[in-house]
């Protein structure tokens, strides 16, 4: 049992650090949840791809480096410590790509992944519906068989970044006669600019169009864009659901970087007599370190053949609550300036704390609410009996 990086891993870390130091924009990009910011972040993805940093764990033929999970953790630590821009390609890289690696055809992988790595195609997730949130299997949007493909009909919502994204992936009811709600679903990819798609942006809590609803009116999807077998969509989706909840969506590097900045803010602004605030800063540091070490243990387990399984639910609850606590503490440290939004010219640190706080508030909701995660923890990790939700 050790915590020492081997020389090659250390070299990888140094290479990451050096590249970021000479490429990360000096001024933060405009918010990723605006049209202008989205375009700027897309440009940044292209630059990352140029250095082969956009998807380090992918095989080289698709634009990656074939990096180990440990190196991915190191990359993320360096990335966020360098204050590099948020990842507009996140949904594609951390959610769709693992699904394609597990269930896609060679043709799909070769066609979809390289433009994703270049930032040329940005992906949105189309899962939730007005009547299907935590109870995802209640979804009603349908895929109807047609010549050479499927016609999508229905209403998807809370689709992150769909206001500006190029394509989406989601689950649709293709076999309406199936005996159980999560049977007879199909996992499909479709174009957000296709005829029949209407995208209506929805403002998040701070008004930025961070997500959208999608109206689908006989949108044609060719057979080539079905992932896995038609009717097997639930199994396809759930086999990689841990990716969304666990490590890959919000890596420890985000939190170690934010906790470091919080400690710096505390050193710069704190009243030493205010031990209540000090304790909250200390707890943020403890939480970030705990997540970092837990991830080191997790990648060791995965490397030796383990699976993330329901452990991803523990991780998701932990990081989402840590994120809120950390940002709330920063805003409290900032005092009267804490309420300045990122649009305010005098907002501290370009409003990153206020923006981070709004973003963090969504964490316990998306990717499966924390209530659902706690059910999963209790039933699958502790073995408690199923009951009514």
């Amino acid at each position: 049992m050790d915590l020492e990086l081997g020389p090659e891993d250390e070299e990888f870390r140094q290479e990451t650090r050096t590249w970021l130091a000479s490429h990360v924009p000096a001024e933060p990009l405009p918010s990723l949840e605006t049209a202008k910011g989205f375009a700027a972040h897309r440009e940044w993805e292209r630059e990352l791809y140029g250095g082969r940093w956009s998807a380090v764990t992918w095989p080289e033929e698709y634009g990656g480096r074939g990096a180990s999970l440990l190196r991915w953790l190191l990359f993320e630590e360096e990335y966020y410590a360098a204050r590099a821009p948020g990842r507009v390609s996140q949904n594609g890289i951390s959610l769709l790509a693992p699904t394609l690696f597990a269930h896609g055809t060679d043709e799909q992988v070769a066609r979809v992944l390289p433009p994703m790595a270049r930032g040329q195609t940005i992906w949105a997730q189309a899962w939730s519906e007005p009547g299907a949130g935590s109870d995802l299997a209640a979804l009603r949007s349908s895929a109807v068989r047609t010549d050479g493909g499927w016609l999508l009909r229905g209403h998807k919502t809370w689709s992150s970044r769909a206001a500006f994204a190029d394509r989406a992936f989601g689950l649709f009811r293709s076999h309406p006669g199936a005996d159980r709600p999560h049977h007879g679903l199909t996992y499909l990819m479709f174009d957000l600019a296709a005829p029949g798609v209407t995208v209506r942006p929805i403002g998040r809590l701070d008004g930025k169009p961070a997500f959208a609803e999608l109206r689908l009116d006989d949108v044609f999807v060719p057979d080539a864009d079905v992932i896995g077998e038609p009717g097997q969509g639930w199994q396809v989706a759930m086999s990689t659901a841990g990716n969304e909840r666990g490590l890959t969506l919000r890596s420890p590097g985000r939190f170690t970087a934010a906790a470091g900045r919080l400690a710096a803010l505390w050193r710069a602004t704190a009243d030493p007599a205010d031990t209540a605030l000090r304790d909250r800063v200390a707890d943020a540091l403890i939480g970030a370190r705990a997540y970092q070490l837990s991830a080191y243990a997790g990648v060791a387990r995965l490397t030796e053949g383990g699976t993330p399984g329901a452990g991803a639910s523990l991780t998701k609850v932990f990081w989402s609550e840590l994120d809120i606590a950390l940002h709330e503490t920063a805003l409290d440290l900032l005092g009267p300036r804490g309420e300045l939004a990122d649009a305010a010219p005098e907002a501290p640190d370009h409003g990153s704390w206020a923006d981070g706080w709004v973003f963090a508030l969504a964490g316990p909701v998306y990717a499966g609410t924390n209530e659902i995660q706690r059910d999963i923890i209790a039933e699958r990790l502790l073995g408690l009996p199923k009951g009514r939700r």
């Binding site: 915590l3 891993d9 000090r278 370190r289 997540y291 243990a297 039933e379």
Partner: protein
């Protein structure tokens, strides 16, 4: 990097766990609390036989070398089985005597006896509080006061703890055994080690409380169903598991750092090691206490009884939360002050 116990370390923990499960530690705990240390002493000797105390003693004094990771593995099991006695204190005394060197033959006298299980040592650092744990039972009591190390000159009356197995006493100052700045430095290392092992014990206490409570809510029925099927019950236990699962890597991470610092022969606990230990203590102490509260609540009135052995762990969780470093003290170690050049934990 491979941040996982190796097969031998994991097997060592399982072996100790099996041994302690067979030793009826709840009965030993109740006897110990009533002043009969016989069964507790027997458990102590078995632990020594399994090599636990030798993990705190260097090879030249007939131990296995200071092995913090294996010590943490052991102390998780000691907590899980609520083993009585001055466990962290005996290890801390061993660290202190080893760091002091062979002056006046103290190390030569006591370290082999500690390794063999023949010396149960109570140890108090008076800068932290006036009480020595189990001094009335221990074979020797060592007291550090600033830069002076003394033997106890006699015990005051037992001051019962909320955890009845923890028998606290004040001790009169006895003969000076050593003095000077080396004592202070060695005592700081001893206190860090005791803090880490108390965190490990707390982790084991929390695991036990969770296991027993999960078993209970699966079989206890109300309204015609197992109470473990209710969401309010599930979520509370999910939070306990979450706290324990995230405290555990902090405890092992601090052990790895301490092992590195010991091997490198770093004089004085490296600042970063002390910070890591403080983090582990806060997280494990809070996790165990969260587990205790949930265990009591979910057992209902039964959980409030002395009769149920669960009470042994519920009360221990409270005592360990403060022992060798309160949450506030540990957080202050992590962030000593805005102006302090204290260790930067992450890039700032």
């Amino acid at each position: 990097m491979r941040f996982l116990l190796d097969a031998e370390q994991a097997e060592f923990g399982r072996t100790l766990g099996r041994m302690l499960a067979a030793a009826d530690t709840p009965a030993a705990v109740r006897a110990w609390g009533a002043g009969d240390s016989g069964p507790g002493r027997a458990a102590w000797r078995r632990l020594a036989g399994a090599g636990v105390f030798g993990l705190a003693v260097p090879e030249k004094h007939e131990g296995a070398g200071l092995l913090p990771i294996e010590l943490v593995v052991s102390f998780v099991e000691l907590g899980r089985h609520a083993v009585p006695g001055p466990l962290a204190e005996t290890v801390a005394a061993a660290v202190l005597l080893d760091r002091l060197g062979d002056a006046d033959g103290l190390a030569d006298t006591w370290l082999p006896a500690i390794a063999a299980g023949d010396a149960m040592v109570s140890y108090a650092d008076l800068s932290r509080g006036p009480y020595a744990l189990d001094a009335a039972t221990a074979d020797v009591t060592l007291l550090v006061d600033g830069d002076t190390l003394r033997a106890s000159g006699g015990n005051g009356p037992v001051q019962p703890s909320v955890d009845p197995v923890r028998r606290l006493t004040r001790c009169a100052a006895g003969a000076v055994l050593a003095s000077g700045p080396a004592v202070r430095a060695a005592a700081a290392q001893a206190a860090d080690t005791a803090r880490l092992l108390t965190a490990a014990q707390a982790l084991g206490v929390g695991r036990r409380l969770l296991d027993d409570t999960v078993a209970y809510v699966k079989q206890r029925t109300q309204f015609g169903v197992a109470i473990g099927s209710f969401q309010a019950v599930k979520h509370r236990l999910a939070d306990v598991l979450l706290a324990l699962e995230l405290a555990e890597p902090l405890v092992y991470g601090a052990a790895v750092e301490l092992a590195g610092a010991s091997q490198a022969g770093v004089a004085g606990s490296a600042d970063a090691t002390g910070v890591g230990i403080a983090m582990a203590k806060v997280a494990a102490g809070e996790a165990a206490y969260t587990a205790a509260r949930a265990a009591l609540q979910l057992h209902g009135a039964l959980g409030y009884t002395d009769e149920l052995d669960l009470s042994l762990w519920i009360r221990k969780a409270r005592a360990l939360r403060g022992a060798w470093g309160t949450p506030a003290e540990c957080r202050a170690r992590i962030l000593p002050g805005p102006a302090s050049a204290g260790a930067q934990i992450f890039h700032e």
